[in-house]
C-alpha cells in the first residue's frame, strides 16, 4: 500500500502568517508530530526578502509603503520577490527518508521536475530550469527554494496564475531605466503566467489537483486532506510572535551605501553599451548587472541570460564568467565583443572607489 501524506490549503494570508506556518510545519515535521505534507497557500500583496537579504538594499521601501505592500523576510534563501493574490504557493514538508537522498541539488531537481509535470498537465509545456526555476518556452512561471532543519526539509514554489510584472519591478531597488516601457516589456518576455498561456484563469482546484497528482506519482504516495493540528498551531503561535515583528524583518540590516548601484556607459565599435551594477563593496561581489544600450544582439534573450549568469559572483570571476558564457553559445552581435561587456561593468565598478569617500553618494538614491 502507498504511503499516505497530508494535503492542506491554508488560504489567503499575510506573509508573516505564511512564514510562521513555514517554521511551524518544518519544526513539527522534524519532531515527527505530523506526516509529510503538501500545503497550498496564497499571499496578500507583499515584498518578500530572501533569508539573508536586507530590505534597504533590495527593496524600494517608499513604493512599498505608499502602496500598502507588506515587507517580510522568508525563512528560505534567494532573492526578493513580489507576491499577491494572483499567485499560488505550493510547499512540501518532507524528511530525507522520504527522498532517499541527502543531496540538496538532487532533492531540488526531483521536486521541481515533478512540479513541472503537474503544471504541464494543465496544458502547457513546463520544464525545470536549474537551479531554482520552472519555465515554459524559456519564460519563468515558477520560482522555488527550500529550507532544512535536521532530517526535515521544506521546499516551496510559486506559480504565476496571473501576474503584474510592472508591480514586481517597482517594489525592487533597481535602476530607473529598468522601469521604462521598453524595459518593462522586456521583463514581461522573461516571465509568463497561466492566464496568458491558457487564455483563461484556471480553477484553483484544477491547479491544485494536477500538482498533487504529480507529487503523488513521483513519490508513490496517496494524499488525504487534513487541517492543521494542535501541535502545529502551538508552534505557529510561537513562530508568529517572532516573525510578525520589526526585529524579524530587520534581522539582516545593511546600509544602501554598502551595496550601491553603479552606472557606466561606453561607446564601442558595436554600439553604445550601458551597465548598471549592484555591487557589494565589502565582499567585492557583483550582486546584479543590468545592461541596456544601443546594441544589436541575436538571439535577443542573450542579454537577459548574461544578466542571470552574472548574478552574485565574485568580481575576480567576472571576466571568466563572461568568456565562458559566450563560448557556450552562438550569438550574433555585429562588432560588439564579450570583452566590451566586461569593460563597461569594470568602468561602473571603478566608481565604487570614489563612493567610498566620505561625501560618497549612492547613484540610485
Amino acid at each position: 500500500m502507498n504511503k499516505v501524506w497530508r494535503i492542506t490549503d491554508t488560504g489567503l494570508r499575510p506573509p508573516a502568517q505564511n512564514f510562521a506556518l513555514n517554521r511551524a510545519l518544518l519544526e513539527a515535521r522534524q519532531a515527527g508530530e505530523i506526516p509529510s505534507t503538501l500545503r497550498f497557500l496564497r499571499f496578500t500583496p507583499s515584498a518578500l526578502l530572501g533569508y539573508h537579504q536586507s530590505a534597504e538594499q533590495e527593496l524600494n521601501l517608499d513604493y512599498c509603503a505608499a502602496h500598502g505592500i507588506a515587507i517580510q523576510r522568508r525563512i528560505t534563501g534567494g532573492g526578493a520577490i513580489y507576491m499577491d493574490e494572483t499567485q499560488l504557493g505550493w510547499e512540501l514538508y518532507l524528511t530525507k527518508r522520504d527522498l532517499g537522498s541527502a543531496d540538496m541539488t538532487v532533492i531540488a531537481r526531483r521536486i521541481c521536475e515533478a512540479a513541472a509535470r503537474g503544471i504541464s498537465a494543465l496544458g502547457v509545456e513546463a520544464r525545470y530550469r536549474p537551479r531554482n526555476d520552472i519555465e515554459v518556452g524559456g519564460r519563468k512561471i515558477s520560482g522555488t527554494g527550500g529550507a532544512f532543519d535536521g532530517e526535515a526539509l521544506m521546499y516551496q514554489g510559486t506559480l504565476l496564475v496571473e501576474f503584474d510584472v510592472e508591480k514586481m519591478l517597482r517594489i525592487l531597488r533597481i535602476p530607473a531605466e529598468k522601469l521604462s516601457d521598453k524595459a518593462i516589456a522586456s521583463a514581461r518576455e522573461r516571465v509568463v503566467n497561466l492566464k496568458e498561456l491558457l487564455g483563461r484563469v484556471p480553477e484553483a482546484a484544477e491547479v491544485r489537483g494536477h500538482i498533487m497528482e504529480a507529487f503523488a506519482g513521483e513519490f508513490g504516495v496517496e494524499f488525504f486532506a487534513g487541517d492543521l493540528t494542535p501541535p502545529e498551531l502551538r508552534r505557529y503561535e510561537a513562530a508568529l510572535t517572532e516573525i510578525d515583528s520589526p526585529g524579524w524583518v530587520d534581522l539582516v540590516k545593511k546600509p544602501v551605501s554598502d551595496m550601491p548601484i553603479l552606472e557606466a556607459a561606453q561607446k564601442f565599435a558595436g554600439g553604445l553599451l550601458r551597465a548598471a551594477v549592484s555591487f557589494d563593496v565589502e565582499a567585492k561581489r557583483v550582486k546584479q548587472v543590468w545592461f541596456t544600450g544601443d546594441i544589436f544582439v541575436n538571439p535577443r534573450r542573450t542579454v537577459n541570460d548574461l544578466e542571470s549568469t552574472l548574478k552574485d559572483i565574485a568580481l575576480e570571476r567576472l571576466e571568466s564568467a563572461v568568456r565562458e558564457f559566450f563560448a557556450a553559445r552562438q550569438v550574433d552581435m555585429l562588432s560588439l565583443t564579450p570583452r566590451d561587456f566586461v569593460t563597461v561593468v569594470n568602468l561602473a565598478i571603478a566608481r565604487a572607489d570614489r563612493l567610498s569617500a566620505p561625501q560618497g553618494q549612492d547613484t540610485a538614491a
Binding site: 539573508h52 543531496d103 527554494g145
Partner: protein, 150 residues
Amino acid sequence: MADSCNGCEFRPELYYDREFQIWVRLEEGGIVSIGMTDISQTIAGKILHVRVRRPGNRRPAGKPVATIESGKWAGPVPNPFDCVIVDANPEVLDNPRLLNLAPYEAWIARVRPSQALEQALQGLVSGEAAYAGYCGRCRREDIHCERKPG
C-alpha cells in the same frame, strides 16, 4: 594524513554531534569552536551566506548558532548544547566559501557552554566511535565529499 570515508575528511581530535552535521573543538578558557563537517558542506553545496547570532546571545540546545544559505536552500547550523555566543569568525562571514574549501579550519562560532564543559560534551561523540558513525553516515547515505573551488 587525515582519516576519511568516501573522500569525506574526518578529524580524530574533534567532537561531533550524532548526525555529524557539526564539529566541536575545545579552545582555551572553557570556550569551544563550532564548525561544519565535510559531510555538511558537501550536502549543502556552494555556500553563499552565513549569519551568526549576536555575541552575548544565549542559545538553548537544538537552536541554531548560525544559519547558512546555499543556492536557494537555507538552514541552521545546529547547536548541540545550551551556550552563549562569544564570537563569530569574521573571515567566514566575509567569505562563506571557506566553509566549502576548508571546513575544519573555518570555524563558524565560538561559544561558552552554559553548563560544565564535561556535561556539555556528553551528548557528543569522539574518537573511534565518532569515526565509525561518520563513516556509517557516508556509506548509508552514499555521500561522497568534494571541495569545489570558485
